[in-house]
């Protein structure tokens, strides 16, 4: 059997054959498995449909058995089929030819593009393989091969299993199988020859026919006709004349003075090398009969151009280098760096040099108690200058990682407001240039927990990504981050809102870093409002027109500012930098209050002492409600805004609250801890409504807890009578308690509920101590978000449905992974890998379109066909070329080969100068000699042949049974796989 015998390395040892115990045990184990899998008896399926081997589903089942202590795996491979109704057929099937033997002759699935080799060789829909379990193990000696084969034979005979059973022999890579199939009184032997060198007579049809016939050894004359199927596969590797369309990124262009801010918001895309490496053309003659065609060692009728069937496969380059994938991967790598910003840039870079305080030892404490920097106008060049100076100072003469131009461009891109001489006002700088804010793409940040694509955070992520890739790597990243943090402090100290952030409290759907920046903005807003209030009250002309309106906006839409107010009410404690504990919530008062002041004093009613109190801090009247005791209109007070919170603060807070436990005391304490806001509101309410009672407060604050009923009074009139709800009336409940402690104090004179000074410092401190790795982790969701958008955008140009599907999967996968606080690296890598993968697919599509010239195609219909053909190439393992060599696509493919041949030809001429021995060898090769030198195609890289017939064996009076031989000849090897059936009943 095995043509070349290997040295006898004893891979598995059988101790004693004579007792046969191990052997018998092995056979019975094989039988057991066959029984378990219910492979006994004949089960005829339906005839195989055309192409079902490719379109259908293949499954496999495995088990492990051992021969002595040598382990084998037994695997059942089968095409999943709808079960056929077996009822009533049984008698007819009794001595039918087994399914597998019939399949040997079926021509509907010759040359499947991707299949198990046994399927390709024998056309089987079902088979069992026994192979050494360990990949490195092998059954090498002939005696052992025979022993295995006879085990198989006995097991099949004992069980009545009609599924072919193979054993894999020799080293696995050789894919050598021998096997057997048994039916009632019939048997098929599966044999194989595998050679490295091809004997000359096997390279053509006539030689193979001779072997086939001699192998069958059919006693009949004339022999029944042999049917022939042939496929030649040609490989095209030379695309030279079709330059890969992707331009490699021009790094210099990005660094040059022309860098537009836009460049920094963009991600690169595409493969740097051709992602399509080979094209395989299979030319098939599906149905030839002996004698019709001549193919021998001197002449061949088999001209690929004339082949009735053409099909094409493309071979994709393994992991082509892709720009976007590289970009994201490199950014992800920062996550694993351990160095701090200081370690990367040199120590103490965060020291505030601008203040010219020499003592470096105070540098740290300054972070916690800062003083304002007296810079009033922000200019980028100014900033860059300072930072650069700082870096020089600490790192000697060394160049700073980012050059001025690049840094300037980035800072302008991130802070477009700094460019204009106008006031820095955060509201104007969100540019919705790319996406409408309602679109699904825009809201992707929601799923990725990243940040909106027009936000500062998102832009920062993209800039860092680019810096990391093109401008100084980790050092550049650290440098930019340092500049960014300085800018944040500058803005806080000078009341300049940060651009590119939506107002309001931190958006918990975004990444923590984004929330922190929003938090800082909240602090700046509050501080600014307070400082504005101070300025106006001190009659200082406002140097920043437009800012006051902003401050008033803060307090709610109904609130109007009044610049003339508040005179004389300003205390020293308003200083922004004073101890925060003494700080009061400040808001500008309103006109209502002024009016109220005047009107109130004249009126009467209610408890006297209350009337004497001047109402303060009114927002507006509450509908038509009047106070219960004195009938005065009920006013909604100006209240303190609740404290904005980032998710980490919230986490902390809810942890504290949860820790109080579930006991009654715990619950009480929890309520008390959260009652600051209630108390503050009650105080504001009391200040705005002198003479009010708890019922009044409840009517505004929790109207459902004030129950009104219509009752008929003494005079018989229907009047409304109201009272507090039962739960509000419970003595000493927290509401009553709070009401009793509340003093009439307007919001602006209350202690601040939100200490913006402290919170801002906390944020700035947090930012300053983020290592590049932390930063990269914060921003990775933004980068992934951007990469997905990029891939989506590129896909939309190509319209590849499979890619659309994968992108959807990536989005849903990412949203699951990124929503957890610390996603595993492995999962992140997987996402990045998937994005790269999509990028490669799109690049492949582009490459194929360029090669097939879909754009150049003028006729609309042809163009559509060609586009369809190209997209099929991407998605299917093999694509049929309509019209074969004469069709439109066929002609293009032909031309591709012709062009490639011309190139080889010219290099052949060069080869003619080579030493004569070389030349001789080349001519000596039968392949080459037979090949016409001016042919349009190279020698086929693969020649496959299937020969089939039905003849009686071993005697003329035996049953006529299917016989088949498959041969494949490639550059590396030659294989013959024969299935020869014989009648066993009369022997």
């Amino acid at each position: 059997m095995a043509a070349d015998s290997e040295p006898e390395s004893e891979v598995f040892e059988i101790t004693d054959f004579t007792t046969a115990s191990e052997w018998e045990r092995f056979i019975s184990k094989v039988e057991e498995v066959l029984n378990d899998w219910k492979l006994i008896g004949n089960s005829l399926g339906r005839p195989l449909e055309k192409g079902i081997f490719t379109s259908g589903t293949w499954e496999e089942k495995s088990d492990e058995i051992s021969f002595a202590d040598f382990k084998f795996s037994v695997t059942h491979h089968y095409l999943v089929q709808e079960s056929v109704d077996k009822e009533g057929k049984d008698e007819i099937l009794e001595d039918a030819i087994p399914q597998s033997m019939q399949d040997l002759l079926c021509m509907n699935n010759d040359f499947p593009p991707r299949a198990h080799c046994l399927v390709r060789w024998y056309g089987l829909r079902e088979f069992v393989v026994i192979a050494p379990a360990a990949h490195s193990d092998a059954v090498l000696s002939e005696s052992k091969c025979n022993l295995l084969l006879s085990s198989v034979s006995i097991a099949l005979g004992n069980t009545g299993c009609q599924v072919p059973l193979f054993v894999q022999i020799h080293h696995k890579w050789r894919r050598m199988y021998v096997g057997e199939c048994q039916g009632p009184g019939i048997r098929t032997d599966f044999e194989m020859v595998h050679l490295r060198k091809v004997p000359n007579q096997y390279t053509h049809l006539s030689g193979l026919l001779d072997i086939f016939k001699s192998k069958i050894g059919c006693p009949l004359t004339p022999l029944p006709p042999v049917s022939i199927a042939i496929r030649f596969t040609y490989v095209l590797q030379d695309w030279q004349q079709y330059f890969w369309p992707q331009q490699p990124p021009d790094i210099d262009a990005l660094v040059g003075g022309e860098v537009g801010g836009l460049e920094f918001g963009k991600l690169p895309f595409g493969a740097c090398e051709d992602p399509i490496s080979e094209l395989h053309l299979a030319t098939t003659w599906p149905h030839l009969t002996e004698g019709i065609i001549v193919d021998n060692d001197v002449y061949s009728d088999l001209d690929p151009i004339q082949a009735p069937h053409w099909s094409v496969r493309v071979r994709k380059a393994d992991n082509p280098q892709c720009l976007l994938g590289d970009f994201v991967t490199e950014f992800f790598k920062i996550c694993r760096r351990k160095e701090s910003t200081d370690e990367i840039l040199g120590r103490s870079t965060f020291e505030e040099e601008g203040r010219e305080i020499a003592d470096i030892t105070h540098a740290l404490s300054k972070l916690t108690e800062p003083t304002p920097v007296p810079i009033h106008k922000l200019s980028v060049s100014n900033m860059v200058h300072t930072a650069k100076k700082k870096i020089r100072k600490h790192r000697g003469l060394e160049e700073s990682p980012l050059n001025n131009d690049v840094l300037n461009t980035i800072l302008l891109f991130l802070f477009p407001d700094a460019a204009s001489e106008k006031t820095l006002d955060g509201t104007t700088s969100i540019d919705n240039s790319n996406l409408p804010s309602e679109s699904e793409d825009y809201n992707l940040y929601n799923q990725f927990k990243s940040a909106p694509s027009d936000s500062l955070t998102y832009k920062l992520a993209l800039c860092l990504c680019m810096i990391n890739f093109y401008h100084g790597g980790l050092k550049g990243v650290a440098h930019l981050w340092q500049e960014f943090v300085l800018e944040m402090r500058f803005r806080w100290e000078n009341n300049f809102l940060i651009p590119g952030l939506t107002g309001g409290p931190p958006d918990l759907r975004c990444c923590l870093l984004h929330q922190k920046l929003q938090m800082l903005n909240c602090c700046i807003e509050r501080k600014k409002a307070r400082d504005e209030g101070k300025k106006t009250s001190d009659n200082i002309t406002n140097t920043y027109p437009g800012d006051v309106g902003k401050a008033a906006d803060l307090l709610g839409p109904d609130h109007r500012k009044d610049t003339d107010k508040e005179k004389g009410e300003v205390g020293k404690s308003w200083d922004s930098w004073s101890d925060s504990d003494e700080e009061f919530f400040e808001c500008l008062s309103d006109t209502e209050e002024l009016k109220g002041n005047g009107q109130e004093s004249g009126k009467k009613g209610g408890p006297k002492e209350m009337v004497n109190l001047k109402p303060e801090g009114r927002l507006h009247q509450h509908g038509r409600l009047t106070l219960l005791h004195n009938g005065e209109p009920l006013y909604i007070p100006v209240t303190q805004e609740p404290a904005p919170m980032t998710e980490d603060l919230l986490e902390e807070q809810s942890e504290v609250l949860a820790k109080l436990g579930t006991s009654a005391e715990g619950a009480h304490l929890r309520a008390r801890m959260q009652s600051a806001c209630l108390l503050s509101d009650m105080e504001s309410f009391k200040a705005a409504n002198p003479g009010c009672i708890l019922e009044d407060f409840v009517r505004w604050y929790s109207p459902r807890d004030y129950i009104e009923e219509e009752v008929i009074d003494e005079k018989g009139d229907v009047i409304l009578k109201g009272e507090l709800s039962a739960r509000m009336k419970i003595p000493s409940n927290m509401w009553v308690e709070a009401w009793e402690t509340a003093k009439p104090i307007p919001a602006r004179r209350q202690r601040r509920l939100f200490d913006d000074t402290r919170e801002a410092e906390k944020v700035l401190h947090y930012l300053a101590f983020q290592k590049p790795a932390d930063l990269a982790r914060h921003l990775l969701p933004c980068v992934i978000h951007a990469a997905v958008l990029k891939v989506k955008e590129e896909e939309s140009l190509e319209n590849i449905s499979s890619v659309k599907k994968i992108i959807k999967q990536i989005i849903s996968h990412s949203s699951k992974v990124l929503h957890f606080p610390n996603p595993e690296d492995k999962k992140l890598e997987e996402i990045i890998h998937q994005i790269t993968n999509v990028e490669a697919i799109i690049a492949r599509a582009r490459s194929l379109k360029a090669k097939f010239g879909t754009e150049k195609c003028e006729q609309e219909e042809e163009k559509e066909d060609l586009e369809r053909f190209v997209s099929c190439l991407l998605e299917q393992p093999e694509v049929l070329v309509t019209g074969a060599g004469r069709g439109h696509a066929g002609r293009i493919i032909h031309k591709l080969f012709v062009n490639a041949q011309r190139l080889t030809e010219s290099s052949d001429e060069a080869a003619a100068m080579a030493p004569p021995e070389e030349e001789l060898k080349r001519v000596g090769c039968p392949e080459e000699r037979r090949h016409n030198p001016v042919s349009d195609f190279p020698a086929p890289a693969g020649r496959e042949l299937i020969l089939r017939t039905t003849v009686p064996r071993p005697a003329p009076y035996s049953k006529a049974l299917p016989q088949r031989m498959y041969s494949v000849l490639t550059k590396e090897d030659f294989r013959l796989a024969g299935a020869f059936s014989s009648d066993t009943s009369f022997f």
Binding site: F111, H280, A658, S675, D705, S802, H813, K816, N837
Partner: protein, 206 residues
């Protein structure tokens, strides 16, 4: 802590003030009804371990205040919740009408999209019903929520509501799993291995 507890689930109770959120929770955790329960300030918190289908789950339940003014605080507690119980009072139509606002808020602040929502119509023991059971049912169906009517006072439906919710959460893949247990999602295999001997027999010729 109990070792056989499968997982901790975060559940949130929301709805207009006075609909009986705290009362429902008290009924569920302590099996009592306290008419002296004060209006909730901020958020309150209770824990209870229950077993559903033999799985033990620890519930961390956050009871929020329905009061307008506290509402700026509560959205933060929506974060990471796996289940939400939205309560209205069947004897007060206005609390039913406001449900839309609550759903809006949920949509805005919830961090995950596979959260399980349950609608509870409370106080069915009372005489003066204003919202018909069918209306509740219709609303729940429209917004794909679980639905049940209950009474914190008489105990009707309370236990059932929580159990139902937990069961649904456990059935929702990925919702209750912590990140470590969370298995990676398999993406379709676009890549094929080419040539080589290690393809398990499935190859093309070349």
């Amino acid at each position: 802590m109990d070792e056989d507890v499968l997982t901790t689930l975060k559940i949130l109770i929301i709805g207009e003030s006075g609909v009986g959120k705290s009362s429902l929770l008290l009924r569920f955790t302590d099996d009592t009804f306290d008419p002296e329960l004060a209006a909730t300030i901020g958020v309150d918190f209770k824990v209870k371990t229950i077993s559903v289908d033999g799985n033990k789950a620890k519930l961390a339940i956050w009871d929020t205040a329905g009061q307008e003014r506290f509402r700026t605080l509560t959205p933060s507690y929506y974060r990471g919740a796996q289940g939400v119980i939205l309560v209205y009072d069947v004897t007060r139509r206005d609390t039913f009408v406001k449900l839309d606002n609550w759903l809006n808020e949920l949509e805005t602040y919830c961090t995950r999209n596979d959260i399980v929502n349950m609608l509870v119509g409370n106080k069915i023991d009372k005489e003066n019903r204003e919202v018909d059971r069918n209306e509740g049912l219709k609303f729940a169906r429209k917004h794909s929520m679980l639905f049940i009517e209950a009474s914190a006072k008489t105990c009707d439906g309370v236990q059932c509501a929580f159990e139902e919710l937990v069961e649904k959460i456990i059935q929702t893949p990925g919702l209750w799993e912590s990140e470590n247990q969370n298995k990676g999602v398999k993406l379709s295999h676009m890549e094929e291995s080419h040539g080589g001997g290690a393809c398990g027999g499935y190859c093309s010729v070349l």
